[in-house]
Amino acid sequence: MSHHIVKFENIIYQYPDGTEALKGISFLITHGESVGIVGANGSGKTTLLMHLNGYLLPTRGIINIGDVILTKRTRTEIRKKVGLVFQNPDDQLFMPTVYEDVAFGPVNLGLDDVNVEERVKRALDLVGCYNLKNKPPHHLSGGQKRAVAIATVIAMNPDLLAMDEPSSNLDPKSRRYLINILKEFEHTKIIASHDLDLILEVCKRCIVLNDGKIVADGDTEKILKDKKLLEDNNLELPLSLQKIL
């Protein structure tokens, strides 16, 4: 078993109307890494994420996830390896109760009742929401929904956890809760976010996107302290660093 999980080789993605969202993206992410993806709106963050579980297929280039090359046929298999958590938890919680939502993945994997129960418990425990298991999703607060949405994905035991703006719309307490959970996770993580402070705390490595291209890829601390780099790419220093520097 090789050690790399995700390999993007010169990925180009073109929308049906011709605009290029990704203009040659290449990177390599290895097992256990925690990578943040930052960039202004329209830089291609979400598009990149959507390739990770095959919702979008690259126009050109090769994507390799867990030793499987992404094609239309291998999509389903890849989805078992990659857990993608969306921006809007309401889009991800569509079952009548929390339990059934978290169980949705494992059931579709074909597990029997005992195993499903086990997975659900473990996933909900990880995000601290097991006590919510019989609640309907619309009874949950924003933060709880976010946590449960993460659980729904974790229950499938993916090799890789990818998240799109996990802290958006969260109040400070929920956000802190989320950050703590993420720091505890052992999964390989790819987090796309505007919340640079979150990235600073959770991700050791950081990739900066601008207009569909990677402009920086390296140690988070170094990159997010580089005021000029950030401002050149329509970003700014993380709030927690702005007073200091």
Binding site: K80, F94, M95, E100, F104, G105, N108, P136, H138, T152
Partner: protein, 264 residues
């Protein structure tokens, strides 16, 4: 706006349906069947029947008190739904003037009797309906329907619909409020705004469906929706069912007021 009231109503009912009381714990299937039988029994009475319907109040009263449902809530709902019925029912005494009897020298027409009968039917059937949902969560009712072999397509539809009613009504509310803040009581423009509002809501809805579908795919969706297994009925459920049916039978075919008269 009517909007807010209706939205909060569903939310309120949704919440009290999650309470934990004896009645709430009775299996949904039993409650649905009992409610349906109740309605059928009540409406099977002849047109002019009044006193024989009285014992039936036992059911809504027990549901309400054992289920800890606020009386006011039920009464308000009855009030809100009554106009249409009353409008139709008011024709009865107007059109049927034959006198049935004299109540201390006040003539009582058959039409009036049937009006009262309609009123009783209304109160009984509507209150049992409200109380059914108030003591049984919506998904409980859906699972009961599934147990009764209604098609999965329909059941899934009910569950999905319910799940997203809250999301969509909130979204609609936000859009309506935003529009209200910007318009200054426009005349005649209303329909244009309405169409644009609803049209945008529709577009957003379709986009949302796409995202949900994507989320489902991401978790291995293959066309079949998984569902909860049907639990077994407990002895309490069986007893509840048995006594309910027994009472319904007795009340329908025997007249308790006769017994009371015999006491005197």
């Amino acid at each position: 706006m009517k909007f807010d009231k209706e939205f909060f109503h569903i939310g309120y009912l949704d919440r009290i349906s999650q309470k934990d009381t004896f009645i709430h714990r009775i299996d949904a299937r039993v409650k649905v069947i009992v409610s349906l039988l109740f309605v059928i029994t009540v409406v099977s009475f002849p047109k002019y029947e009044i006193s024989r319907m009285m014992p039936f109040f036992l059911f809504p009263v027990l549901f309400l008190s054992l289920g800890d449902i606020p009386v006011r809530f039920v009464l308000v709902r009855l009030l809100i739904v009554s106009p249409f019925i009353l409008f139709i029912a008011i024709f009865n005494p107007l059109l049927e003037r034959n006198i049935a009897f004299y109540f201390f020298s006040i003539p009582v027409s058959y039409g009036f009797l049937s009006l009262l009968s309609i009123f009783l039917r209304f109160v009984l059937t509507v209150s049992i309906l409200i109380l059914l949902i108030a003591t049984t969560s919506f998904s409980g009712v859906c699972y009961a329907l599934r147990a009764f072999r209604l098609p999965n397509v329909f059941i899934n539809q009910l569950l999905f619909l319910y799940r997203y009613i809250f999301v969509l009504t909130e979204e609609a509310m936000r859009m309506v409020r935003a529009k209200e803040l910007r318009s200054f009581n426009g005349r005649g423009q209303e329909i244009k705004f309405y169409v644009r509002l609803v049209g945008n809501l529709l577009l957003r809805t379709i986009e949302r469906a796409e995202r949900i579908y994507y989320a489902m795919l991401s978790r291995g969706y293959n066309g079949i929706m998984p569902y909860r297994k049907i639990s077994l009925l407990g002895y309490k459920d069986y007893l509840f069912m048995f006594f309910s049916v027994l009472l319904l039978y007795i009340f329908r075919f025997y007249d308790p007021t006769e017994w009371i008269k015999m006491l005197f």
